[in-house]
Symmetry: C2
């Protein structure tokens, strides 16, 4: 199993084809996609292509956002956008804003609704999350298929914090063309024990692997994972979100 | 960057040398460690080698453990062990027991204190977490260095759930010989924006990558990651645990 960062994609502007950009970058690097590859893309380029980028100059933060941001040395306009993009606030404490996003019937739970200024344009604008990341992944998969004839699963990622662990790790927020879980429930381990809860979040682990290979400073917003025996299937990243009924930390 | 599962390690018994077992398995597979490799090992084999395995027959569950286990179709003796291994219960609800383990001044927060029956001996015994996983990693690193002359970082893993995401993912519970974070704070992204919070939990992402490559059914409890430019350093996995003062979900 290998991770191959896609270097030299160049800047993505609203309306650009990410598929073209990735395929051109691969060609320039004398590489190409092969059957069995998985394509991992950070949401930043998807948000840029879809125009989900907001100039901070145009954001008027509410008084609440301003006071809170000031207290903790945060950017009030980012906090304002984060609150606008949220369905509810999960925690707003100690300088950390954790929200549930507006995606679907229940959203992603993450810091600042995924609103982020890094790797956008040097601090003038913030990227929002794509409106429907599973759909964005599906569209990219279809574009790659049209242009190459290959059906390559696509995972769209964002960096997530974790409640009890330090540091960020990439997670899958959109997916198409593969199962997001490897489900071992009911199967027997090598000792004959029937596994009960073992459902592995492979799409998240693939996102993390791409994050390792690409980093934050390399201008490599896409990565090819080669040699992972994924399972074909509908596989939406939305299914990775725990339904509210099973949420023990509301 | 590549992940190479170590196949054919055979069964680990109390007192066995995991280093010998890994090196022998690599030799049989006509592979060897090279400088720059990272070794990822699931804690199950470490717990077995250290004798942190408990026969369920010898566990007398408390009444509370029995009632709760019965209500949710859990194994009372595993719940009993999980409670014994815990410092405090974080949540015990809807059939899920989340605890803080007794490690260090503040422990790992995970399901069942990490007590688990899978990949042990077919259901007769449960593996506990190693007493001091960072120390176990350090000892394995030293043994590998003695036997090969190579200083190979070691990460010990366990499968963790996440509060708002479905599915398990491997996390680093022990580490030696490399920094567990890739710290981008204060550096500028390719657009000139100074990154503020970007500290990547690379040890966790490496754990996840090894989990992808090895799975739960393949009897491959170790994995070599080759080609990742890790940073040397003290790097304890304990530093990945968020200190209680920053915990928003106590």
């Amino acid at each position: 199993m290998r991770a191959i960062p896609v270097l030299g994609m160049g800047e993505i502007k609203p309306g650009d084809s990410i598929a073209d950009s990735i395929l051109a970058a691969l060609r320039r690097g004398r590489r190409k996609l092969v059957a069995g590859d998985i394509l991992i893309v950070t949401h930043k380029v998807v948000s840029k292509a879809e125009g989900s980028v907001v100039a901070l100059d145009e954001v008027r933060p509410s008084r609440a956002a301003r006071l809170w941001a000031q207290r903790y040395g945060r950017e009030a306009r980012v906090i304002e956008l984060a609150l606008r993009e949220s369905r509810r606030t999960v925690r707003m404490k100690k300088g950390v804003l954790i929200t549930e996003t507006r995606h679907g019937a229940y959203g992603l739970i993450c810091a600042n609704s995924g609103v982020d200024v890094s790797n956008v344009d040097g601090g003038k604008s913030a990227a929002l999350l794509p409106k429907d990341p599973d759909r964005s992944a599906q569209k990219l998969r279809q574009a790659i298929r049209r242009k190459t004839g290959l059906d390559i699963p696509v995972i769209i990622t964002d960096s997530f914090g974790r409640p009890w662990r330090q540091g960020l790790i990439e997670a899958a927020i959109g997916s198409a063309g593969m199962r997001v879980f490897r489900d071992c429930r009911g199967q027997r381990d090598p000792y004959g024990y029937r596994l009960q809860v073992t459902q592995e979040a492979v799409a998240d682990a693939l996102a993390g692997m791409a994050g390792l290979a690409c980093g934050k400073l390399s201008r490599a917003p896409a990565c090819v994972i080669r040699g992972f025996a994924y399972q074909r299937g509908r596989g939406r990243a939305r299914d990775l979100i725990r339904p509210p009924a099973q949420d023990l930390f509301r």
